[in-house]
């Protein structure tokens, strides 16, 4: 679960990591309530899960009261990569001397946490040079090793202590809240030498959320996503118009690639997991039926373990119930495949022995219907 900036900053505040003085407003009337409390200049920040907000114009500076309402309205209506904000974060501007970067993340290969820090904040970390990388035990970080990092970054004076404290607290947050990533970019050094988090990026381990009821309020999940998850499906909405359903994340990903190679545009990824029964396939089709952009469905089931007539029955039911009308191209090479082909012969679905055949027919159909 990727937290929004203000949510991450709420966690920072809980852990005594300094952040700018800020307010939240969802609409005009909430803005009116805080308008007179603000000390200008302020920064308006659209709360989106997508990155690159600065470049997309989703962060605006506001010098005085007069600019506030128009800029607020602009941000509230500004869509970035298909996402509209539900709330705007309004922060009082601070006097920045220098910007740093710190990121604490789960290092999968090393099976530990690693801290990347740099004295060049504010930019894309992949482009940053002079990175300091340090592995950190899950049990935390000592004051002296934190100070060593600060010195490696060339920090001095009170900044060493302020920086070290933040790194130690961030490590504590990562451990206690079971985060996969906690990043502060930029971490500002103020004129007085202390450090303050100007941004936050926190990703919580989804599988640990059952232990963290306090984070439940940050869950934002679409209705469709919820429906998929309730059935135990993994579902990802994509940009295209072909829905891809299969049993197994790797298999569905692989199918996505083959569709893409053939010139098709995947619009949904749905892995219904373990067992292919009439009921699970029907439920999977039900989720897909809610996406109006989907113009065709590809079903790819690993053969050998599936009774194909059960799958064919689900497809027939979905058509008969009027749940779906778009064509289905299915690769289901398992038991009873001849029977299944007959079952579907009068429907809008076709069965194929290989996924390549199914995809090439599907892509041809998509081309002709355009």
């Amino acid at each position: 679960m990727k937290l929004l900036e203000y949510q991450g900053k709420e966690l920072f505040t809980e852990y005594n990591i300094a952040v700018p003085k800020s307010y939240l407003a969802r609409n005009q009337s909430e803005l009116n309530q805080i308008k007179d409390k603000l000390e200008y200049p302020v920064v308006l920040k659209s709360q989106l899960t997508t990155g690159g907000r600065g470049k997309a114009g989703a962060i605006l500076k506001c010098a005085n009261k007069e600019e506030l309402v128009p800029k607020f309205t602009e941000l509230l209506n500004k869509e970035v990569k298909g996402e509209l904000p539900k709330v705007i974060l309004i922060e009082e501007a601070v006097n920045i001397d220098k910007e740093l970067y710190i990121s604490l993340f789960l290092n999968r290969g090393k099976r530990t946490y690693s801290l990347i820090s740099s004295s060049e904040g504010g930019m894309d970390i992949e482009a940053v040079e002079n990175k300091v990388i340090q592995d950190i035990s899950i049990s935390g970080l000592t004051q002296s090793s934190a100070e060593t990092i600060a010195k490696k970054l060339g920090l001095s004076g009170v900044t060493i202590e302020s920086f070290s404290n933040i790194v130690i607290k961030l490590a504590k947050l990562v451990r206690e809240k079971e985060a996969e990533l906690a990043e502060i970019n930029p971490l500002a050094i103020l004129k007085d030498g202390t450090c303050l988090a100007l941004d936050s990026k926190v990703i919580i381990d989804d599988n640990s959320i059952f232990r963290h009821p306090e984070l439940g309020k940050y869950m934002q999940i679409s209705e469709l996503q919820e429906q998929a998850e309730k059935n135990g499906f993994s579902f990802v909405e994509l940009d295209g118009d072909i829905a891809i359903i299969g049993n197994g994340a790797g298999l569905v990903m692989s199918t996505l690639d083959i569709v893409n190679d053939a010139g098709g545009k995947p619009g949904a990824f749905l892995d219904f997991g373990g067992r292919a029964t009439t009921e699970t396939i029907y439920k999977a089709l039900e989720v897909i039926s809610k996406l109006s952009k989907v113009k065709a469905i590809l079903v790819n089931l690993f053969g050998g373990i599936v009774r194909t007539d059960l799958v064919a029955q689900a497809i027939l039911n979905a058509y008969e119930d009027g749940m779906i009308s778009v064509p289905i191209y299915a690769r289901i090479s398992g038991a009873e495949s001849e029977k299944s082909k007959k079952m579907l012969s009068n429907s809008n679905a076709k069965l194929y022995d290989t996924v390549e055949e199914a995809i090439s027919s599907l892509v041809q159909f998509m081309r002709m219907s355009k």
Binding site: L106, E178, N207, V236, A249, S254, L256
Partner: protein
């Protein structure tokens, strides 16, 4: 890591062992939905399941297999070194400790949705005590014609001389099915697991078979997320691994920052991208199939 860990000695044994090819296995979570179905299937395949574990169900039996409250209790009667773990994710850590504390050396961890923190703690615990975990979120491991510990179907696998290591379950079945159809059997097929943290990662899987003469080639099925494939390539370069290797990488067209079904299948920036993995393999001349069905053909060309 422990180089001396001999997975074949544990799974199959030596010809002089009285239980050669018939090593005893304990199933933790045997009475659960998943555990019971797959206990039946594993048994059909030839896996010697001697005992099951489900807390508070000690004294019962499942299709003639005695059920105990803990591995500790089971170990008083049975001397198993292998456990298949089918417990719900939130009980995973305690199941691992119970197993490791009571003689289990190879833990095949099936559950999905194990928290990363629990996975890390489990691995540390197992490692400190000389045990190995495969998974979590793995389909398991199969030695075709001998036994399987896991949830994989039996039909795709045929006995032979290649090793298949896969981060995805169904792709392991799919690719093995194509290999078997082309006459290329498997000595072992092992699921690394779809989680960010794996008890046996790709490098460690390679170490398990690197000095075995009866394994002639390796098929690696990778996917987006993390840098296991990139690290594997470094390992292959450094050690001069000489067996022919064919790779496949799923997720070339996956968007960034979206979790594609597996907890571990997510790209941040270039970290974890399919391009990064494919170009790593290409750098050391390991061919990368574009589709699962291409793997056998490429492998046969290499073996000529």
């Amino acid at each position: 890591m422990n180089n001396k860990f001999d997975i074949f000695d544990i799974l199959v044994g030596k010809p002089e062992d009285p239980d050669y090819g018939n090593k005893p296995v304990i199933i933790q979570g045997i009475t659960g939905n998943f555990g019971s179905v797959h206990t039946r299937l594993m048994r059909e395949y030839g896996t010697n399941i001697v005992a099951g574990v489900t807390p508070n169900k000690g004294g019962q039996s499942f299709e003639g297999i005695p059920v105990f409250d803990s591995v500790k209790d089971a170990s008083k009667t049975f001397n198993a070194k292998i456990s298949g773990i089918f417990v719900p994710a939130q009980f995973f850590l305690s199941a691992v400790k119970d197993a490791v504390n009571n003689g289990i050396k190879l833990l095949v961890a099936i559950p999905e949705h194990v928290p990363v923190r629990d996975a890390m703690e489990s691995l540390e615990y197992a490692q400190t005590n000389g045990a190995k975990i495969i998974g979590p979120n793995t389909p398991g491991v199969i030695v075709p014609s001998v036994n399987k510990i896991g949830i994989m179907p039996s039909q795709p696998f045929k006995k032979g001389n290649t090793a298949v290591f896969s981060r995805s379950g169904t792709l392991m079945y799919e690719v093995s099915f194509y290999l078997s159809k082309a006459g290329i059997g498997q000595k072992i097929a092992l699921g690394i697991g779809g989680d960010p943290i794996n008890g046996t990662n790709l490098i460690e899987a390679f170490k398990l078979i690197s000095d075995r003469d009866d394994i002639e080639s390796v098929v690696v099925i990778g996917e987006i997320g993390g840098d296991a494939e990139e690290s594997l390539v470094q390992y292959i370069e450094k050690t001069g691994f000489t067996k022919p290797v064919v790779a496949y990488v799923a997720g070339r067209s996956a968007p960034k920052e979206k979790r594609m079904g597996h907890a571990g299948a997510i790209v941040y920036g270039n970290y974890g991208s399919a391009e990064s993995k494919i170009s790593s393999f290409s750098r050391v001349n390991i061919p990368v199939a574009k589709r699962p069905a291409e793997v056998p053909g490429i492998l046969m060309k290499l073996m000529k």
